[in-house]
Amino acid sequence: MTVATLTEWTRTRPQPTWLGRLFDNKAFLIFLCLLPAGGLLTVFLTYPLGLGVWLAFTDTKIGRAGQWVGWENFEYLLEDPLFWKAVFYSVFYTAVATFGKFALGLWLALLLNNHLPMKSLLRAIILLPWIVPTVLSAIAFWWIYDPQFSILSYLAVDVMGVRTTYFDFLGSTWPARWSLIAANIWRGIPFVAISLLAGLQTISPSLYEAALLDGSSAWQRFRYITFPLLLPILAIVMTFSIIFTFTDFQLVYAITRGGPVNSTHLMATLAFQRGIAGGELGEGAAIAVAMIPFLVFATLFSYFALARRKWQQGEAND
């Protein structure tokens, strides 16, 4: 009887099995935890990245394994006026759209930082363009830019009488380029504004009070308090914005597909046209690889230019 109770008592505290011990082993657990993410990223991100660089040096076509051709793809691209056009427009598009997004986004963030009624509803409405699938809002813009039934033309010609002819948004080079930039800015404002608003809300109100007591003007408060304290977050948001604007694909593909006369090709759409639609995987990969130096440069520039100024100011203030 005593023996029976004793065995019952020990059974309630069983030794962990070998499996349990294995799962409690830290090294094994770390390996196990990193396996799914690491595996996915290795197979579908790191490997393709390497493969992309390799493909850029081959003449691979869809359905045919390629031969190593050295720098031939790049040499061909360097003499291709279409490629240079795409490079020019990518840089121009990124520069103008980023400037527009940040100017307007910062303004909107400053407006939202005031004491307003229904603030959360307002914030929800403003984020909407960023939530909705880009391609679908791009199609809406395509319809707004329609040569015959554009609502903007109707407003300008028939309602306000500012113009006598309808706008030709997408029919010729420069109007098409500006129209795409406008659509990109429209889509980018919410992200910039809401991120910067989060940054603005971390700035202590006592700094503004102190500045007010010292008799500062609104511009001075912006220039010497808001802007410097916003720079770190501005640097990060700008890095992201530059990278994703430079490699933009959806807007251009949906609205113009690179036309008219290939004038609105970004490097990404040109890579798609040559690589997937045209079947020249090697050449498409070369165009995609040619984007990497621009991205690295843009990242380093926006990061260091903005981060260093913040560091200098921090140094001067202390």
């Binding site: 349990g20 799962f23 409690d24 090294a27 657990l29 770390i30 935890c33 990193l34 396996l35 799914p36 996915l40 990223l41 579908f44 490997y47 393709p48 990245l49 493969l51 691979t60 909107l108 407006l111 939202l112 959360s120 307002l122 929800a124 409405i125 984020l127 909407l128 939530i131 909705v132 699938p133 880009t134 391609v135 679908l136 809002s137 199609i139 809406a140 813009f141 319809w143 707004i144 039934f149 609502i151 404002i189 991120s195 977050i233 990060i236 948001v237 890095t239 933009d248 694909f249 959806q250 949906a254 490097m267 890579a271 798609f272 690589g275 997937i276 995987l281 995609a288 984007m291 990242t299």
Partner: protein, 301 residues
């Protein structure tokens, strides 16, 4: 008597006029500097959606006749475009595919991100910050430079033109984002809680399941809805890896299947865009705060 007291505040006197005028002045100023620009922003940001909605319910006769009908209003609303979309195209099918892909990709990414973030943030090991940095860098690799080699990889793996091509490739941009977000959330959970559990004899996996995860639920929701939205909106992979019309996702299908010939069916196109945006928009309206916190949380980290 009562009349007199009621009238008293309204009687103008020199003492009250000046501050009232100042108050009005500052209100007018506020109006011009804040409300008017804000109203412009809201109108411009919302106009494409309004236009999309209006167009999808207009009959064709109204759609192309601005002279007779006011283009900003609908004279006789119709469901023709939506009916045509739902019953004469493969739209329901596209919607189902998109939903399936988005849900599976989100689930897969959340699972691997939770484990990875837990390992990086809580099972501290030598070089864990480098793994974190690597994941941050992975987030900076845009899909536009990956899609060509990924297409060949997908083809080699025999996944071309199947939903698995999308379910397995979407995590390349979802996992870095979710891991990054969850690391931030795990950081905010006191480490002492886990130490107590360790002393009480809990295993590491029990700690993750019983203590860390329940406390990180807001982070999980943020990461989940964000992943769902990003997968729903994804375009370039879906365009490159899916060929047959009925297997496409909504954004790609609207652009490639509904646009045919030189005459665009704007009514149907806009109805398709509206229906394609609606699930995300509804989802968004329920979880606005999580969206904002994940957006700003990701930027702040």
């Amino acid at each position: 008597m009562t009349d007199a007291t009621a009238n008293q505040p309204e009687t103008p006197s020199n003492a009250t006029v000046a501050p009232e005028k100042m108050a009005w002045d500052s209100r007018a100023r506020r109006m011009v500097t804040i409300y008017v620009p804000l109203a412009c922003f809201v109108i411009i940001l919302l106009f494409p959606f309004y236009w999309m909605t209006i167009t999808s319910f207009k009959p064709n006769a109204e759609l192309y006749d601005y002279k007779r009908y006011n283009p900003f209003l609908i004279d006789s609303p119709t469901l023709d475009h939506i009916y045509k979309l739902l019953f004469e195209t493969a739209y329901p099918r596209w919607l189902m595919t998109t939903m399936l892909v988005a849900v599976c990709a989100t689930f897969l990414s959340l699972l691997s991100s939770v484990l990875a973030a837990y390992a990086i943030q809580r099972l501290r090991f030598k070089g864990s910050q480098y793994v974190g940095l690597g994941i941050y860098l992975a987030y900076l690799v845009p899909p536009s430079i990956l899609f060509i080699p990924l297409a060949t990889t997908v083809y080699q793996l025999g996944l071309f033109d199947t939903p698995f091509a999308l379910i397995l490739t979407y995590p390349t941009f979802l996992v870095p984002f979710c891991t990054w977000l969850l690391i931030g959330y795990f950081k905010s959970i006191p480490y002492e809680l886990e130490e107590c559990a360790l002393i009480d004899g809990a295993t590491r996996l029990q700690i993750l399941r019983r203590i860390t995860l329940p406390l990180a639920v807001p982070g999980l929701i943020s990461a989940g809805i964000f992943s769902f939205t990003l997968s729903w909106n994804e375009f370039i992979y879906s365009l490159a890896f899916i060929q047959s019309g009925e297997k496409k996702t909504v954004p790609v299908a609207i652009l490639t299947e509904l646009v045919s010939g030189d005459v665009y069916q704007w009514g149907a196109l806009m109805a398709g865009s509206l229906l394609g945006s609606l699930p995300v928009a509804i989802f968004y309206s329920f979880f606005v705060d999580y969206y904002v916190s994940s957006l700003t949380g990701a930027v702040k980290e």
